[in-house]
């Protein structure tokens, strides 16, 4: 039991104060006044020069939001944000069209350097090796730098900020925006619909395999700025795109609210792969100051034979409330959800997925690995449902939880609803701890306690790590290391 004792001791010593990416940059912001009102919604829309219909859409969402209640069903406990005490619009000063990276505020570039996002290096590296990653870097709300646009344009791919898309491709935005996550979908999605500041827009034309992995780095900066990104990805018939999203945030004392909406639309034979590595500030050892992550992510397999795959690595945020879902509307469409959620300190995670089978012969797969340490709470909440007409729907779900220390908790709340006889659903869940045998075996072979735990945890989550794109795999292994650093023996 010595090993267990030591593990517990280590857990007690959690040092989340050493948050590696905690810093903030001082760049003067152009802010809207604090608080939320119809005028603020108008201000945001005007500031971005949006068409009239967009403003109306936002105002309608705002009116609906006023009638809604903040949801309380999730297994999380937090101080509710004061929506009148937030800034809903903040843009970095130097947004007036930098022609190249040289024109970007050096302080901003320094921020990226600290974050470990070597924008220039990647540019160079990509030029050399031919493997290119375009980065639509979001600094707070407005896209500052978009690289590789030309090359993507050659393939016909549109990858830009959503405000730009509203100017250049309003017909596409109008056609698809809000069709997967309706503007009054839930409390936070509705808020987002009213005040979303910016985000990414991707359109892959028919038959095109996007020539590179698309990537957006989100970064929350500027105190008290809620971030309300809106991402819209459309894969037209027979196309393919892989999209990477990764986040880190600076250390702040006040809670930062993040209520993003991501909408994916896969038409006939199209495939979208969406990967996320989330490492926002989890708060200090008392759970103070961490990010609230209330995200609505949903994909719509609208066409036959389409496929949407979500992969997520969740290590940060004080409170996470996130259920990337798939609506399997097209016949033979497929949905996938691979997740690793690590919680430590006083983090609270309530995450999972929804697989809604509507079309014939649809299949879905859910692999969720929850690792709970410290005093954290980690909940998997998921829904698998088959409509009456979804004949031969198929689902396999596996939810495993690993508990490290006796003060943390792990919960599993799956909902399984079968409405026709040909649906075949399988669900299994396990909860366990790292066994002393495993630890003994690894340590007997010369690993120290920390390495042994890291090895076992990596093995536990292997099925998901393997699903990550190459670019994220290294980062993830590093993140798992950082997340468990000093906190588990």
């Amino acid at each position: 039991m010595a090993a267990v004792k030591e593990t517990i001791d280590h857990v007690k010593e959690i040092d989340v104060d050493k948050y590696k990416y905690g810093f903030s940059t001082d760049i003067e912001m152009v802010k809207a006044p604090k608080g939320l009102s119809e005028d603020i919604v108008k201000f945001i829309s005007a500031k971005k020069g949006e068409p009239e219909w967009m403003l109306e859409w936002r105002l309608d969402a705002y009116q609906r939001w006023l009638t809604m209640q903040e949801p309380e069903w999730a297994k999380v406990d937090y101080t509710k944000p004061d929506f009148q005490d937030l800034y809903y619009y903040a843009a970095p000063k130097s947004t007036e069209g930098p022609k190249s990276l040289d024109e970007v505020d050096p302080e901003l570039l320094a921020t990226y350097a600290k974050l470990g996002i070597p924008l220039k290096e990647q540019e160079v590296l990509a030029g050399v090796q031919g493997a290119k990653i375009a980065i639509d870097a979001v600094f707070d709300s407005v896209s500052v730098v978009t690289t590789f646009k030309d090359e993507l344009a050659k393939a016909g791919v549109i990858f830009c900020s959503i405000s730009e898309a509203l100017k250049e491709h309003p017909e596409l935005v109008k056609k698809y925006l809000g069709t997967v996550v309706p503007k009054s979908d839930n409390f936070y999605a509705t808020l987002n619909s009213a005040v979303f500041s910016d985000g990414s827009f991707v359109y892959i034309p028919p038959g095109v395999k996007c020539p590179m992995e698309l990537s957006t780095y989100f970064r929350i900066n500027e105190q008290n700025t809620g971030q309300f990104e809106r991402t819209l990805i459309i894969a037209d018939k027979g196309s393919y795109v892989s999209y990477l999203e990764g986040c880190t945030a600076p250390m702040r004392d006040e809670n930062q609210l993040h209520a993003a909406v991501v909408e994916l639309i896969a038409l006939e034979d199209a495939e979208i792969k969406y990967s996320t590595v989330q490492n926002w500030y989890p708060g200090d050892k008392d759970g103070k100051g961490g990010v609230y992550n209330f995200v609505t992510k949903r994909g719509d397999c609208r066409g036959n034979n389409s496929k949407i795959s979500w992969t997520q690595v969740e290590t940060g945020s004080a409170v996470t409330w996130k259920y990337p879902s798939c609506i399997l509307r097209g016949d033979n469409s497929q949905g996938e959800f691979y997740s690793i959620a690590i919680s430590n300190g006083k983090q609270q995670v309530d995450s999972g997925t929804k697989m809604i089978h509507l079309g014939k012969n649809t299949s879905s797969r859910i692999i969720s690995k929850g690792i709970s340490a410290g005093k954290s709470s980690n909940t998997y909440r998921g829904l698998v449902s088959a409509h009456k007409r979804a004949s031969n729907a198929r689902n396999f779900t596996q939810c495993d939880s690993l508990l490290i220390g006796d003060l943390c908790s792990a919960h599993t709340v799956p909902y399984i609803e079968a409405n026709n006889s040909s649906a075949t659903f399988e669900h299994e869940a396990t909860t366990s701890k790292i066994s002393d045998d495993q630890m003994f075996y690894a340590q007997a072979r010369g690993l120290n306690e920390e390495e042994a735990v890291a090895l076992i945890v990596n093995g536990f989550a292997r099925e998901v790590i393997q699903k990550l794109p190459m670019e994220f795999m290294a980062e993830t292994q590093r993140l798992i290391g950082i997340s468990l650093e000093g906190s588990v023996g």
Partner: protein, 435 residues
């Protein structure tokens, strides 16, 4: 307070103005709390998470009048039970519309076994009876609260320490009403330390009338006791059967509950087990076979609050027609309840496209040194197995029946009493041979 009440809620409230059973002041206190509880909660509806799939407010349109006592003969009871159960050498407690019938019951000859009708127990204010209502937790379940207000009959049963009841204890609930009626009854079991008993509880209907049944069984199981409990329900298609089995398990106890539901109208079998003593074991399993528009809900909470306890659950559901089944199973491991070993499995076989199965197996774990898991599957008859049997000259119908039998059999095998097991196997075979 402005509360919109349904007609059914209004009549439940007016019926409960005058509780059928009154007694000592502690009961009055319980009933007054229950009344506030029901007034606040109303009938459970889909907004209440535990009742998400069984919306009683929508399903129960009217509250039937409480049943008046009727006359039933022993021959009628025997016929209802069928040859196997009628012939089973057992102690009998027969409840006619909830009332313990002295004439039909026979539980003499076992020292250490004490049976009182609920009315007698409350009127006499027997000291051990004061525990009634204490096993259930107040404040969150409107159906349990309603039972305290409406209970007309039932029994309080006590086993003295180390009593080993030599024959099964059959609890036979006969509904003999001539028109739609409601029956609310309560059973209270005080199982002494190291006592052993086998309980066979059946709910049967004589005149094929719709009934609203609300039955709560509280079991206070003391250390080292061993209880085997089988509950069988076969109701009218317009009936509502609301059942609660609430158990508190002491140290090193061993409790087994097996529930079988055949068709019926709306059935809710709720089980709440609280592990209070270390190293206790419980096996809560069952089978449901539903056809027509039957709706059966099994909701289970296994609350591990002690060290080294074990829970096992296996549920099999077969659905045909527009049958709808719900399985909600929750395993809670409280902080410090280390070495808990919990495993839960729910399997459903859907024979019709109009059937629906909703399941929600939950784990809520606050301790690290535990081994908990659950599985849930939904599917249809395996074509390959069917082909295998048919290739050997077995007809399609027969092959299907065999496969269903094998599917349900895995659970029924858990019943220890041979006679009861054979009886239930026979009833389930009759169920799927019916069409």
């Amino acid at each position: 307070m402005d509360v919109i009440r349904t007609e059914a809620e209004k009549s439940f409230l007016s019926q409960s103005e005058q509780p059928a059973l009154t007694g000592p002041s502690w009961l009055e206190d319980l009933q007054s709390t229950a009344r506030t509880e029901f007034e606040t909660l109303g009938l459970p509806n889909r907004r209440v998470e535990e009742w998400k799939y069984t919306d009683l407010r929508a399903l129960v349109k009217e509250a039937y009048q409480p049943a008046k006592s009727s006359d039933v003969s022993k021959a009628q009871v025997d016929e209802l039970l069928g040859a196997e159960l009628a012939g089973l050498d057992s102690y009998r407690l027969v409840f006619v519309d909830g009332q313990l019938s002295d004439a039909l019951s026979d539980f003499e000859g076992c020292s250490g076994l004490e049976v009182l009708s609920l009315k007698a127990a409350l009127e006499g204010d027997v000291s051990w009876v004061k525990e009634i209502g204490s096993v259930q937790q107040t404040g969150r379940d409107a159906v349990q609260a309603l039972n305290l207000l409406m209970m007309q009959g039932g029994a309080a049963i006590r086993l003295a320490e180390k009593t080993e009841v030599n024959k099964p204890l059959q609890l036979i609930f006969v509904s003999a009403v001539e028109g739609p009626s409601s029956v609310a009854s309560r059973l209270y079991f005080e199982i002494g330390a190291a006592a052993k008993v086998e309980i066979i509880e059946s709910h049967l209907s004589l005149n094929d009338q719709a009934t609203q049944t609300n039955v709560v069984a509280e079991l206070n199981v003391s250390d080292w006791a061993r209880v085997r409990h089988v509950k069988f329900t076969q109701d009218h298609a317009d009936s509502v059967h609301l059942s609660n089995v609430i158990g508190r398990l002491g140290k090193e106890t061993d409790y087994g509950l097996f529930q079988v539901t055949l068709d019926g109208g709306i059935t809710r079998n709720q089980v709440e087990i609280r592990y209070d003593g270390d190293d206790a074991k419980a096996d809560i399993s069952g089978a449901a076979l539903l056809n027509g528009k039957s709706h059966a809900d099994l909701t289970l909470v296994m609350d591990h609050a002690a060290l080294g306890c074990e829970s096992r659950e296996l549920f099999k559901t077969v659905l045909n027609g527009e049958g709808r089944a719900v399985f909600q199973g929750k395993v809670i491991v409280q902080p410090g309840a280390q070495k808990t070993d919990g495993s839960m499995m729910s399997k459903a076989l859907l024979l019709s496209d109009d059937a629906e199965f909703d399941s929600k197996p939950e784990l809520e774990i606050y301790a690290d040194d535990v081994l908990c898991g659950h599985g849930a599957t939904t599917g249809q008859i395996d074509d390959e197995l069917l082909f295998y049997l048919k290739a050997r000259g077995i007809s399609d119908k027969e092959a299907r029946a065999l496969l269903i039998q094998a599917f349900v059999g895995e659970a029924l095998e858990l019943i220890e009493n041979d006679v009861v097991r054979d009886f239930l196997i026979e009833r389930t075979v009759a169920w799927y041979e019916k069409d």
